[in-house]
């Protein structure tokens, strides 16, 4: 990845990263994690039905509870219809919705009592990605790429995979480079056809014609660059075409899941209809990480079908969890088996939780958006495994102690990657911008 800008400021440039294997920028301090894979449960995964065990909520089931809700249809408290059990050596609570993740509980670090700034999907997803609820800010993947560069110039450094059934709210705004250089934007791998936009040569193109055309172009561009010494972007263009050609060779191989063993495919759930699409993305994600991709972001759910259980919590969350549980657990176990979990950060996030009170009643009862308390998890490098941090009140309405902000969550992720969230800045429109705005404290309590 090559970049030139005329900004002339003291920010670090991702310049001349092409060609060499370890052309990444040095981090601020020794990193625990070298790469990230994030699975985003779009729509709002209910904390009180997955990781945040609330016997008090069940005891007060049906009791009234006065709280404002986004749709203004708040009913009474509703205990989780799903059974919780303590799992593994660690005794981490995980509900029956996630049996596979439950078996991996000893590798998870669950963070309870998180808070978001918006009760509305798009801004809340945006905050989880960018720290801001407004449009136009860089995604965490873009920040990390900006801070650390890439390990493999033949592949995009920040890869995004969306749910084939529907896009997340906000679409490509969610993996935008914002005001950072375009080079760090997320590359959305298509669910069919070319994984990378314009990767394949046009259909019917004679490969010989392309080869000769590229030779002619190379000569022209080299000559032009030689005639303009001192304009490094012209050399960079020559290299960019070489890289592009290599990417054309590399990406299809990396993206080819047929190269995986049958047992790996089964582990992720490629053989089952409900798990197939997320399994595909998780397995591809792991392959990309192996090849040096810095940041992989996978969306589960989107505007069409998501974890947004306003009605029929049981049907919705059971269905979504069936799609989610096995591939994600397989990803963790697979990374572990390959020795990669120790320097890979896995993050399971959602934009907000769901209300302890019901929305609707009876079989169709669901839960409304709840940004005031929810749970996310991390796993891997530098974290205390089998550990739950923070907590919520008796019914999961508010954090029990200090809330964990998304800024804190981001600050911690950056810290694990060797980046100081207060130092990873970019000057834009009068402000040295950060992923964490003016907030954020590293959650020291979850660090190993």
């Amino acid at each position: 990845m090559l970049l030139s800008t005329g900004a002339g400021l003291g920010w670090m440039a991702l310049s001349s990263l092409g060609g060499r294997a370890h052309a990444a920028s040095p981090p601020h301090f020794a990193p625990k994690a070298k790469r990230v894979i994030q699975v985003f449960c779009v729509g709002g995964m209910s904390h009180v039905d997955t990781f945040d065990h609330k016997p008090g909520l069940s005891q007060r089931n049906g009791k009234s509870f006065d709280m404002p809700t986004f749709f203004g249809q708040g009913g009474n408290l509703m205990g989780s219809p799903f059974e919780f059990r303590q799992r593994g050596q660690s005794g981490l609570w995980v509900s029956e919705l996630l049996p596979n993740l439950a078996r991996s509980a000893d590798r998870l670090t669950v963070i309870h009592g998180m808070v978001s700034k918006s009760a509305n999907h798009m801004p809340a997803v945006a905050q989880m990605n960018t720290g801001f609820i407004l449009n136009g800010f860089p995604s965490i993947g873009a920040w990390v790429t900006y801070g650390l560069g890439t390990e493999n110039a033949d592949l995009p450094a920040f890869v995004v995979m969306t749910d084939p059934k529907s896009q997340p709210w906000g679409g490509n705004m969610q993996w935008s480079n914002g005001f950072l250089p375009a080079a760090v934007q997320g590359t959305a791998f298509a669910n069919d056809g070319d994984p990378v936009p314009d990767l394949s040569n046009p259909k019917g193109l004679d490969p010989g014609a392309r080869r000769d055309g590229m030779d002619w172009l190379d000569k022209m561009n080299r000559t032009y660059a030689e005639m303009h010494p001192g304009d490094s972007s012209l050399d960079a263009r020559v290299r960019a075409y070489e890289l592009a050609a290599r990417m054309q060779l590399t990406v299809p191989g990396v993206a080819d899941l047929q190269r995986e063993s049958e047992s790996a495919k089964r582990l992720y759930g490629l053989d089952r209809k409900e798990t197939e699409s997320l399994a595909r993305n998780c397995l591809l994600g792991r392959r990309l990480l192996e090849q040096g991709v810095r940041f992989v972001q996978i969306y589960h759910g989107g505007g069409g079908k998501s974890w947004d259980a306003h009605g029929s919590l049981i049907t919705n969350h059971s269905g979504m969890a069936k799609e989610y549980d096995q591939p994600v657990a397989a990803l963790i176990e697979d990374l572990h088996a390959r020795g990669m979990l120790r320097d890979t950060l896995v993050m399971g996030v959602t934009e907000f939780g769901r209300t302890p009170v019901s929305q609707g009643a009876g079989k169709s009862a669901g839960r409304d958006h709840h940004p005031d308390c929810f749970s996310c998890w991390m796993a891997g490098a530098g974290l205390k495994p089998g550990f739950a941090y923070g907590g919520s009140d008796e019914v999961g309405y508010k954090p029990a102690g200090n809330p964990v902000t998304i800024y804190d969550f981001h600050a911690t992720a950056l810290q694990l990657l060797g980046l100081n969230h207060e130092k990873l800045t970019y000057y834009h429109n009068g402000i040295r911008r950060r992923l964490t705005d003016v907030h954020g404290h590293v959650i020291e309590g979850i660090l190993a």
Binding site: L3, N135, S166, M173, G178, V196, R237, G303, R432, G440
Partner: protein, 1001 residues
Amino acid sequence: MSCPQVRAVALSLSRALAAVCLPAMLAGADLEPAAAEILQRRCITCHGPKLKSANLDLSTRAGALRGGIKGPALQPASAAGSLMLARIDAGQMPPAAPLPASEREVIRQWIDAGAPWSSAIQEKRAGPDWWSLQPLKRSPAPEAGGKSVIDRWIQTRLQQAGLKPTPPATRRALIRRLSFDLLGLPPDPAEVEAFVRDPDPRAWERLVDRTLASTHYGERWARHWLDVVRYSESEGFERDSLRDNVWRYRDFVIRAFNEDKPYARFAAEQIAGDVMPGATRDSVTAAGFLTLGPTDAVGLTSAVEAEREAVREDMLEEMLGTVAQTFLGLTVNCARCHDHKFDPIPQRDYYRFRSVFASVWPAIGRDESLIDVQPNSMPLLTPPEKAERQQTIASMRGRIAELESEIAALYRSARPASARPGARVFARWTFDTDGRDESGEVHARIPAKALLVDGGVEAAPGSETVVITTTPLKTEVREKTLEAWIRVNQLPTKAFTLFELRNQSGYRGASVDGMQFSAGQSRHWENFSIGRFRSENPGGGAEDTAPGRLLHLAIAYTKDGRIHQYRNGQAYGRPYLPEQGTPLAKLQTYFQGDAIARFTVTPGMRIEEARIHASALTPAQIAASFAAGIVNHTGTELRARMSSGDQARLGKLESELAARQKELAGLPTPEPAWIPSIRPAPASRILQRGDVNRKGDVVAPGGVSCVKGAAEIDLAADAPDAAKRLKLAEWLTADSNPLFWRVIVNRVWQHHFGAGIAENANDLGYNGGQPSHPELLDELAIEFRASGGSLKALHRIILLSDAYQRSSRFDPAAAAKDSGNRLLWRFSPRRLDAETARDAMLTASGLLNPKMSGPGFRPFDVGNNTGSYKTYTPADSADPEHQRRTIYRMSVTSAGNPMLDALDCPTPSVRSAKRGSTTTALQALSLMNNAFVQRQAQAFAERLKRETADPDEQVRRAFAIAFGRAPAEWELAGSRALISARGLGTLCWGILNTSEFLYAE
């Protein structure tokens, strides 16, 4: 949104941080710099010599010892006795973010070590003496250096730095440079040759004038402006719905540039063009600038009021932030939560500025007084036209209402006395001859899809579900009964809501109470009550009424929150019982002026009569009502009962009514445009820490106090919107406002040279840095102001300078001293921006469609998801509309375009002062394989074949079109070989991918 309190030292420059993270390892000598770094980052912005919050100045040891209003801050060698550490340890300071433990530890050790403090900590912020805030000042220009004042200043700085400028560029290079710069298009080969051969010594000047006169100039420079004003044609956020009429603003900008509209007028129209005296449709369109930003349409409908308010505050910050950055180059938006950390902008100024725009809303919602039919738009009318239309519509509607009332009275007088309303009900619709309320004024409007037949209302043939709505209630309703007589020929298969009361106020959770059918259980009636969730199936049994028989349904809402349903006079299932003590399940209020009634008819089901009672009828009353039944009267029957005089009068009234309705429907529809919608707003209050729940003092509208010179805006806090914006426009564009003139001159300079005199065109405050040639900037600003704000005159001055005409030849010796070329020893070559690259390809291929103005082309497919949210997938098309210049591409926030994005096209809706210029493998892939590029390469080849059959000529022609020059011998040979081996298409593809094609030097 807020901004960093710290001006963090860039990573690559500072390693002090590593030390901060490991306090235990600090030796005495390292303590001072570490502590100084923390003080500077964390404390000095407030407790520095400029702001001196709490009268405390921590920039010097003396200041710390003297302390502030709470006493001395520092007691050397005693951390425990030092107030500053006590405040830090208590988490009180800094207020927004407590210090991490490691930093506290550094401060503690440093104080205990005696607080060594060898020099004052420099404050990093601007005061009122900051350069950009000073009045424009003409400095005597140096005498040597050239004819142009530009060159004299530039030459002086070059000489001071010991630099020599490069020689003038060739004419071939110059015309290409100028053409891309002013028009965004490559020059025509014939023009290149003519200019190169032009013997006139004033050939350049004449070329500049000719080029400035081209209408392509407006298309090119409008794009720069659209970047700054975050031009977008969709609302962003969750739905990202299209805004179909924003293109008029784009056309306004193109026209303004082409007509060289005086800059102050151009600015004023964008601030207040919709309310200014002598407003034109053009100026009204210009005001759309204010609301080009994204709209969180879903957030605005939150049931939580504080959330709606916060969303609105974000919108206002976006709006006023854009105004301030666009015209003042100041980040006023940073002062929303606190005084600006770097510039002398107190929080109070933010809220004064906010007050000016408090009534400005995007054109969402409808204005019934104007019959506004298109979503995301307002009728494009000047204030007098608007007033006239409102008056015309109101008078037509008034006459229609009179006629309807007279007609209704005639029909009612013809009814037998027994059929006239007996017991007083709140509202009653017989649907005999109209939708009028027989006992009150809640009239239903019968839509065209419904028919009044045989004394009832039903769906017109061919219509599916038809919803009939009423005018709003005139008095509020709490306890109530809804009653309806219906006739069912065929039970509807789909769920529907027969009859409901609904608060309209637009927010999620608006109350609804009504009766619905087949909602949860097929063929069952249920109460339908949202807003405090109370919908429930009462278990009343499946509907089995005989076809054609009258069916009576009623639902009563009692004071204690119960809901009772009845069918044919009998209780239907069990009542809904709110749980004791549940505040959420209470009886709802339906507000006057807000709530309406709604009825639904479906094929096979008609409503014969409906009533609302403002009380919960008892079971006995319901039974009696059912027993009394209803009498239907048809229009024919009633007309037959009328006297011949009344019949004649009715005929006259009805024909006038039809004529009037036709007249109203036939009113010409004004063109829709994206212009502000003005809504009443309370006086602006300071929000502490920007929090809508912490409202402080009311403030009057105002400009920004650090901008001296312009007269203060002297208006009351509750001044009307028009007055506030007109005054602000006057303040902003005043001759005496130095920022207004400096900012635009700097922007123009930046686009000509690639970098501004001040490098950050959107920020001339502290963080924007110092200008490279301040005197020159002022000189040009003064000239520009004196010219009446003529941008073309400004371009001319710049383009005629030697500095602009220099060669871009690289000089290692000069680069060693000034690698960024800030002093302009050469002309920096630049890659074409995304739009220009695309337009240049279209020019080479000959496919460019020169059509100007009008709605843009849409290079995407629109996908519908659940709800109202859209997805956009890029789509290439050979349609001529899609071969227009890229500025006519519809700019949709979430509709990316892989090729344009890879060429650093910014996201619409983001203010962008300057384009990036990155080089990536993905960019190369796009240029190699994108379907658009393939098409252009093919068309380029076909064009060449049409023009000449000789391969050598084809190569020469291709080079002339793409590069403005002849091929060298080796290029000719190589290209000829490529054509013969792989065809002309391959060569054309190669040309479009060359650096030379994509760069202007």
